[in-house]
């Protein structure tokens, strides 16, 4: 069983009632290369079940200003896919349980070749890959390359997804599916819980995988509401905003950022568990 499947199974069965997964998103090497590893461990400590690690791209078309700037900060350190692999290998030295998925755009994978990327990603301990601009219709070579290395291809669904595209996605996706809760880019503010609930129910008719919901989750309250109608909550821009507090160059600066993010996650965790 893949780490992702294992984790979702545990959340369902361990403890006295089923729990929902909390998935924080941070960009690798934002704001400094040294912060990401201790931050990942701290996020697990604060209640994260799965970590989504952003791989920076020069042209992040689907992202709002907060994550665009995160990518720019990360790219100032020339962060490459290989840096992300090393980071996850380091993380795995002390955490063999928490699934890590990488999220980014296709071109950095395209230059490596899908097979070579998949091999190195699996070796470093990555569990799933979400590529924003790789839809199922283009994934004839991409999906087999990932699956041959035991990686879960994770795909997006949106409020505008039709039954035909949801079915097509169900044929190729594994791990979980990621429902984008609103029309727009990352970091947008409005979240309409009722419409999320309706759409998640529609998706469930076609797909057995866990459904994570992201975009627009800004605090403990919205995390709890979304958790009540899905299997997992992804929180990105809200914590990425904290990367601007300081430059993350010194140990002390990094610990300030890590503490603030941990507090947000802890509050989300307890709100979600109170359900």
């Amino acid at each position: 069983m893949s780490r992702l499947a294992q984790r979702f199974a545990e959340l369902k069965t361990q403890g006295d009632k089923p729990k929902k997964a909390l998935i924080p998103y941070v960009m690798a090497s934002d704001p400094s290369p040294e912060i990401t590893l201790p931050l990942m461990h701290a996020m697990v400590e604060a209640g994260a079940d799965i970590i989504e690690l952003g791989v920076p791209f020069s042209d992040p078309m689907a992202d709002g200003p907060v994550i665009q700037l995160a990518a720019e900060r990360s790219l100032k350190h020339n962060t490459s896919m290989h840096d992300v692999f090393s980071l996850v290998s380091e993380f795995r030295k002390t955490d063999d349980k928490t699934p890590v998925i990488v999220m980014g755009y296709l071109n950095p994978i395209e230059v490596m070749g899908y097979q070579s990327f998949a091999q190195q990603a699996a070796t470093s301990g990555i569990d799933g890959v979400l590529t924003v601009d790789m839809p199922p219709v283009e994934a004839d070579e991409y999906v087999p390359a990932l699956k041959s290395q035991g990686l879960d291809p994770i795909f997006l669904l949106a409020p505008t997804s039709t039954p035909a595209r949801i079915k097509k996605l169900a044929e190729v996706a594994s791990g979980f599916v990621y429902y984008v809760s609103l029309k727009g880019v990352t970091g947008a503010a409005t979240l309409d819980v009722a419409s999320v609930e309706t759409k998640v129910a529609e998706i469930r008719q076609f797909i057995d995988l866990p459904i994570a919901v992201g975009f627009g989750i800004s605090d403990a309250d919205s995390a709890a509401k979304v958790a009540s109608c899905s299997d997992a909550v992804v929180v990105g821009s809200t914590i990425v905003k904290k990367m601007t507090i300081n430059s993350g160059k010194t140990e002390q600066e990094r610990s300030i950022i890590i503490k603030e993010i941990s507090e947000i996650l802890s509050s989300m965790r307890s709100a979600m568990d109170r359900l």
Partner: protein, 409 residues
């Protein structure tokens, strides 16, 4: 004749792209799920109008009465004499309403937006020509218009910014990334996913996800269809060579496409060579890039070893783009079209030559085609003929030229 037919069945240029938008390995729909619905709607609408007589009649009527088509195929006699080689003909897209070929496409997409009931149009622009052409169509149809433009280009192309504003468009300065055309395209995409219900995104070149590369091409092939008929009327022959500048590649594919199956016609796409292709400071992905994925399609790109898109350099804002339409990537790989570059200096020299010898001030983009076309003509015989696509006029560039020459206006 039979010869051509056989060749056609080998590589059927006219049937490209396939139904998923692929030109060989290039093109496609590399877009986020958040855009898929809008793209599928657009594809369906476009499939419908392709064979819709009413739509096509309206399009032709607008091109004739509003744009002023057909544009002349002008024999540049003095330029031909000065170069001393093949006869040089200029396809005068600079004489179109708004001053460039861009309006052919915005008329087509504007009509489609109207048909789809969209009330708001958005566009990206580099040189500002496409922004002006979009703002023009929006004014004519009474639609709200927002144009995204790199902050750096806003400075370079100030006259066009003011024109767009006069036409009622809102011009949004894009401050992200390299602050040029590619970043304007990113920002327009972000607007589109957010306002997808009432907004039509009018892309200005043959790039983007399917169906844009095919659709924009089809609206621009009026250039080549006219040129073919005009050449036939003037000398009962085909040209020996075609030359066009390539930014995203819409004016070039518009001229080339109707001639692709005519084996005897050589074709040259001229990229922005900047300070020289060897210097690394250029905008020539077909000459010096690698295949990759950007803005919804697979195509040649300027990228680094990690797959990050690198900054381009060209004196002309309209060529300052790190990608290129996917059909050009395919035409390069199969060897049908030659892709070359003209440097900033060569383009500037050609700008002055054409202005002084023919009394025609070309756009800086088009000046790249003129520069290469003159070089090419010099190597050819006097009985041969080349067509250079004069994609736009240079009024918008006079500030840039004056600045380069140290003149204050």
């Amino acid at each position: 004749m039979t010869d051509i037919k056989e060749k056609l069945s080998v590589t059927d240029y006219m049937s490209m792209p396939d139904d998923k938008g692929h030109f060989g390995v290039y093109g496609g729909i590399f877009a986020s799920e958040t855009l898929m619905q809008a793209l599928e709607e657009l594809r369906d609408a476009y499939e419908k109008i392709k064979t819709d007589k009413v739509f096509q009649a309206q399009f032709d009527e607008d091109l004739a009465q509003y744009v002023g088509r057909p544009s002349p195929l002008y024999f540049a006699e003095r330029l031909t004499q000065q170069v001393g080689g093949a006869q040089i003909f200029l396809k005068r897209e600079d004489l179109n309403h708004t001053g460039a070929h861009k309006i052919n496409n915005t008329i087509g997409q504007g009509l489609l937006a109207k048909m789809m009931g969209k009330k708001r149009v958005i566009a990206e622009t580099g040189a500002g020509q496409h922004g002006v052409a979009t703002a023009t169509v929006a004014a004519r149809f009474g639609m709200e218009c927002v144009v995204y433009m790199g902050a750096e280009d806003i400075v370079r192309q100030a006259p066009n910014v003011y024109r767009m504003k006069l036409l009622g468009a809102k011009v949004v300065a894009v401050e992200s990334g390299s602050k040029t055309l590619k970043d304007a395209l990113n920002e327009a995409m972000r607007d589109w996913v957010t306002n997808v219900d009432d907004t039509f995104y009018i892309i200005g070149t043959v790039a983007g996800p399917h169906p844009y590369p095919a659709m924009v091409r089809d609206f621009q092939t009026i250039i080549g269809r006219e040129a073919k008929a005009q050449m036939q009327a003037q000398c009962a022959c085909l040209p020996d060579a075609l030359v066009a500048c390539v930014g995203g590649g819409s004016n070039a594919i518009g001229l080339f496409h109707p001639f692709l199956a005519d084996e005897s016609v050589a074709m040259y796409g001229v990229e922005g060579g900047g300070l020289g292709v060897d210097s690394g400071k250029h905008a020539a992905p077909l000459c010096a890039g690698n295949p990759g994925v950007l803005h919804g399609n697979r195509t040649y790109l300027m990228e680094d070893e990690n797959g990050q898109i690198i900054e381009t350099h060209s004196v002309s804002a309209g060529l300052d783009y790190p990608g290129v339409g996917p059909e050009h990537s395919w035409l390069k790989d199969i060897g049908r079209v030659n892709y070359v570059a003209a440097t900033d200096d060569e383009a500037l020299a050609a700008f002055h030559t054409l202005t002084q010898v023919e009394g025609i001030i070309p756009a800086l983009e088009s000046s790249h085609a003129v520069a290469y076309g003159m070089k090419l003509a010099a190597t050819m015989k006097p009985e041969q003929r080349i067509i250079i696509n004069l994609s736009g006029r240079g009024d918008k560039d006079i500030n840039t030229i004056a600045k380069i020459e140290g003149i204050e206006l």
